[in-house]
Structure formats: C-alpha cells, structure tokens
Subunit: 410 residues, 2 copies
Amino acid sequence: MPKYTFDKWSDIYANRVKTLRSSAVRDLMSVADMPEVISFAGGFPDVKDFPAGRILKTTTHLMENSKATALQYASSHGDEALRKIIVELLESEKIYVDTDDMMITFGAQQGLDLLAKIFLNPGDIVLAESPTYLGALNAFITYQAQVVQIKMDKNGLIPKELEKTLKGLKKKPKFLYTVPSFQNPSGITLSETRRKSLVKIAKKYDLLIIEDNAYSALRFEGDPLPTLRSLDENIIFLGTFSKIFFIPGARLGWLVAPRAIMEKLLFAKQAADLCCGSLPQKLTEHYLTNYDWRKYAQKMIKKYTKKRDVMLAALKEHFPKEAKWTYPSGGFYIWVTLPEFLDTTEMLAEAVNEQKVAFVPGEGFYYREGGKNKMRLSYCLPSEKEIKEGIKRLAKVVKRNMEIYRSLER
Amino acid sequence: MPKYTFDKWSDIYANRVKTLRSSAVRDLMSVADMPEVISFAGGFPDVKDFPAGRILKTTTHLMENSKATALQYASSHGDEALRKIIVELLESEKIYVDTDDMMITFGAQQGLDLLAKIFLNPGDIVLAESPTYLGALNAFITYQAQVVQIKMDKNGLIPKELEKTLKGLKKKPKFLYTVPSFQNPSGITLSETRRKSLVKIAKKYDLLIIEDNAYSALRFEGDPLPTLRSLDENIIFLGTFSKIFFIPGARLGWLVAPRAIMEKLLFAKQAADLCCGSLPQKLTEHYLTNYDWRKYAQKMIKKYTKKRDVMLAALKEHFPKEAKWTYPSGGFYIWVTLPEFLDTTEMLAEAVNEQKVAFVPGEGFYYREGGKNKMRLSYCLPSEKEIKEGIKRLAKVVKRNMEIYRSLER
C-alpha cells in the first residue's frame, strides 16, 4: 500500500483521525514475515509446539454435538460456559467474581477500546506507565485523550511519582492504565509493596485503575504476586487467551468490571461488533475443560525462560558496555536503553535492510516525547539460535551508529 | 443481570455513553434462547444443515499444514489469500478492486464502527433509510451523530426525499448509510432506476455513500441488480460472511473503500483490536477455495424462500385486515405495519410471556420517533411449522390489543 494517497475526503474525517498514528508493530508485520529477517518485534507467542490435535478433536466434538450453537451468533456478554471457566481460573488468583461481572472481548485490545469508548471525552487525561503498551496508547489516542506517563524503576511504577502527578494535575484523570506483571514493553514487574501502595493511593484520590494482566501467567521464577484486582474489587481487570492459555489465532480476551460499568461496556460492545464468534469461544471452552492446558503452559514457560536467558547472555556478549537492559522474570520482553545520542527509529531501517534483524523502536511506547534511545526486544518467537545470531547482528548496527556519532563529535 | 445498578462512576463516563441505548436484539437474545419461545427476532441464519464435515476437514488441513500461521496473530489488513478470494467474488458483482482496497473486519458491524470512528464528530449528521438497521444506528449514536432518516416506499429510498433533505440541511451530512438489497428491517429492495438516481444525487451533492451489502446474495427471485459500488468507485462497500457464504460463528466481514480512507480505517482497526483472528480467516479461505459453497447457498436460498412463503401465507391467514406488510424478494425480514394506535414495544412482553413468540419492535430502527406500530419478523431461523404456529400466536396478541383499544374508544 502506498504511504501517501491523495485524499479528497480529508475535510470530512472526524477530529480523532488527526491524532491517529500508525503502529510500529503493524509497519513491521510485513517485515517480520520475511523469512530472512530475524524478528524481535512482535509479541507473538511460539505456537510451533501447540498440540494441534486437540483443536482437531475439539472441532470434531463441536461439529458432531453442538453445531447449531457453535456456528451461530453468540450473546454480547460472551459464552456463559466459557465465562464460568474464567471465573474458576480467577479464583486461583484470589479474584472472586460472578459470570455477570465479566465479558468476553475480541482480544484484550478490544477491552481497551471499549473502556476508552465509555470513559474518554476529547482532552481527558489518562495515566499510564512510562513507557506503556503502544496498543493501549493507540486506543486512548483514538478517543483524543491526553496520556500522562508516570516514571518507573526496576520495581515498576513509582508510587511517589504517581502521587506527585495526581497533585499537580489541574483536571482529574479518568483512570490509570497499568500492566503490573512483566510489563509490555519494559518486562518490569511491580513489587508487592508497591501494589499495595498503588491501591491505597487510588482509593485516596478516587482513581479508577485498569489492570492489564496479559502476561502474569508467564512467570519464569519467584512467587506469584497478588493482582491489583485481588486487593480491590473496584479495579477493572483485563485478561487474554492469546499469550498462554490458548492461542492468538482465537483472539479472545476477557474483562472484569464493576457491574454498573459492565452495563455500559455491553452497550459499547453491541455497537462495536454485536458479539464475539461462537466457534472460537466454544473451541476455547472445550479446550480448557478437556485438556491439561497447565502442562502445556509449563512447557512453554520453560521454553521462554531459556529464550530469555539466551537473549540476556547474547546482549552481554555483543552489546556495547554503554547499553543497559531490563531483566524480566516473565513475559515476552526485554527493554534496552542505549546512549542518549542514538535514535532507534532511525536505526531500524539499517537493521532490517542491511542486517536483517527487526525490533520495535522505543518512541511508540510514549505519548509525546521519549524513548528515542530505547528499543523493545521480544524473545518469544525466534529460536535460541536465531536469538544469538539476531542479537549479534543488532549489536553491529548499534556499534556502527555509536562510531558514526563519535566520529562526528570529534 | 439486574437492569439498574448503583453507579458511583456515573460522573466519569464519556458524553457518548449518555446516548448509548440497549439493543432490543440483545435483550431478546436470552428470550430467543428459551426452547418454548418461537422467535422471529434475530437475523440468525439457519445453520442446521451446514456441512460441518467441511469445517472439520478444513481444520484438519490447517492443523497439519499451516499451524504456525493459523494459530498466530494476523495483519490488521486481514489475510491476503482471503482478500484475494473476496476480490474474485466481487468481480461477479462488477466491482473491480485490488486486495489493498479491502480489509477484513470482525463482522460487518465492525466495519460500521470503524467508519463511524473515522468520520463522526459529536453532532455530525448521518443520513439513512427510514427505518434503518439498528446495529448501524447504534454504531453512529455511539459517536454522538444525529441520524436523519429518509422516507422509503416499496421501491426503496425515495430519491426526491433525499434531495429535499439535502437541500434543507444546514450542515453537510458526513455520509448516507444504505442497505439497498433486502433491507434490514424492511425487506425492501432499491429499484435499478433509483440506484442510478441515488448515485447521481450523491455526485451532485458530493455525498459519500456507505453501501451495506449483507443480504444481496440471498435473492429468491428476479434478476440481480447492480450494486451501488459497481456504479461509482467512491462508494464504501460492506460485506459479510455471516449470512450465506459461511457462518456467523466465524464473525468475519469485509470492507471496500477508496485507498485514502482505507489508510485511516487501518489505523482505527489497529487501535480497536489489532487484527482479526487467523483461525477463522484461514478456515473461511480454505472453505471457499475447496468447497462448492454456491451449491450450499442455492440450497439455503430455496429453504429461505419457502420459509418466507409460509410466513406470508400465515400473515394473510391470521393477521387482521388492518395490518400491512412488505414482500421481500430476498433476505431475512418482513416488516409489518399495524394500525397507528398499537404499540409493538408494549405488546412484546405479552407476546413473549403469554404466547411464547418473539419479534423486534419497530422503534429500535428509528433514531428518534417512529416505528411504534411496526415490527420486524425474521423467517430465517424457525422451521416452517414453527413459523405457522408463531404467526398464529402473534396474531392473537395483535387482535387482543386491537380489541382492548377499541373497547376503550367506545
């Protein structure tokens, strides 16, 4: 698709379109598809070992026993049986809800879109971590919100910084969006003490929290930490089947919200797409009921742990000593900080075209300024061998750019 | 779910939430599920005879040969191979496009949501038929548009009325939304002459048209008419797999738009849900490639034709002479007009609770006023026997309400 097209409709677009921006993830999607490129760009789970026979058996069962519902429209709320299963899963995270407190969404991304739709007027303020998930930024920006990002350190969002921001704002923010576990893009996890502080601050300032829990089941080491939702039932909680339970191919997520908010969300869901597909919902329900998905999850966790270790070792071996990076104890991402004078967006073309390696430049994870010298590396999809080779190639790009800068400095 | 919940968040909702309204279709969904109720409410295709073995074989093929893509995230644009197939299908409707002119959406409903998102500011005007599809109304109302509805007669939208409206408006409308073939809810089809007039008027007034083509393949009799899109390539064209090609369970639709508009839609799609599921896209692609879906479509058209005839005959036999209804030559719906003093919304509870029969009250298909004495009847899902019985029961409710009114009149 050509980048610029003559646009005779430009005078009839909504104001919100002017703020929309292309996602680096999408632009890289085509690149990541090329077999010769080693891609650390997308947060794509490794599905090579997924027991496909289970999907087959489940489909067989569905077509033989419940064709009339599996092929039909579903309710806006989502499949009741599937919601029951999620309710049970959540109990193990000490979240006690009823199926009516939950809706099935088209990926966790839809949950973000629906929440933005029901809460955000143009000019409204949303709080988020700095950096934050670019899909969330896109959802909020589409509704013309301003996103104020709060500093993090290696223990996650800094409560003092949050409080400082809250005191300094002239307008009350609509909500705080946070990914407390193995954050996208930083890989950082919010410590237990801070989780408690965060909930306390939210109560004090009457601040609604949206907790995105996409990655918490992908823990490599250490004890699980309480979800924010388990500490306060006013918190909105997003989950997804894409990363571990099941497969991104089904594109199903879920959302837990206080009942009054859920009513608004259901209206918004109807206007957006009526309902999620029955077939993927029934497939997921039967898969979770009939198979030991936890065993597969454990296997995948081992695999991702090794991949992370390989990437960390390769970074240490090949990257210049001026570079720093995070140590994720779960999830998919390592966040690399290069010297301030480097621009990762500029480096991307060279990396892809000359070294055949891709990553996501840091800028996309910031509302306005920031991230120029940062990059997100995903270790989830490439093989260990590819990770070693890809980091070696990427290090060449980084070092070359540092040399150029220094030679110009002289 | 209780209808009213104490809502301590009521002060932080977006303004657009205040205009959201519940869909009669959703509220009836639970009712329609009860086995003792004969439902003429939902536009649900009859999937009882769908050759489920094909889905099984297709799934087997996918799991054995392309697991890594079928279970993975897809691109925001949609699966390339699937778009190619749709491009070929559209050629038979004399629409000549390229895969880049098209995106896959999560049902045609998502297409409406994305279009509303990129075009509508609060207070903007949208034109539509009177009555119009309630899902479209919901999508537009969510973005706080005002919908101006244009009168129809048995040949569809009246061009003179459209021109009168266009001349009378103080503000230029953003677009006209139309369902030219077997319209939802009226079952009416726009005549060929009028199609040409409509396109001419749109050109004259520089009015963007959105053509919803959900039902055109479900023609029972007569020659196919040209789509509006085949008459002018500036028209946005929506299609769906839910009604005939495939199954609502997959929830896939598509959207054809001028390239410049497509760029905006892709941004909006990313922010909404990143991409459609790979699995349903691959399933649909393989199904359409490897099976004679036209044969199944022909079989279904025969079935729906008989169901329509049974419903028309039953209406003639049982409904009072004061009632009028449309004669659809395709699609799923008959639109019934009762004497002005009757209120179908009020009648619904009696119909469901006492007579165990459901329909959609007319009000939902109007932006503001109108439709109180109208109802939409779908003949697609119930069996012929159920249609006969259901219309008999519904006639009882109608007649009883007429008698009550008349006894009060005296």
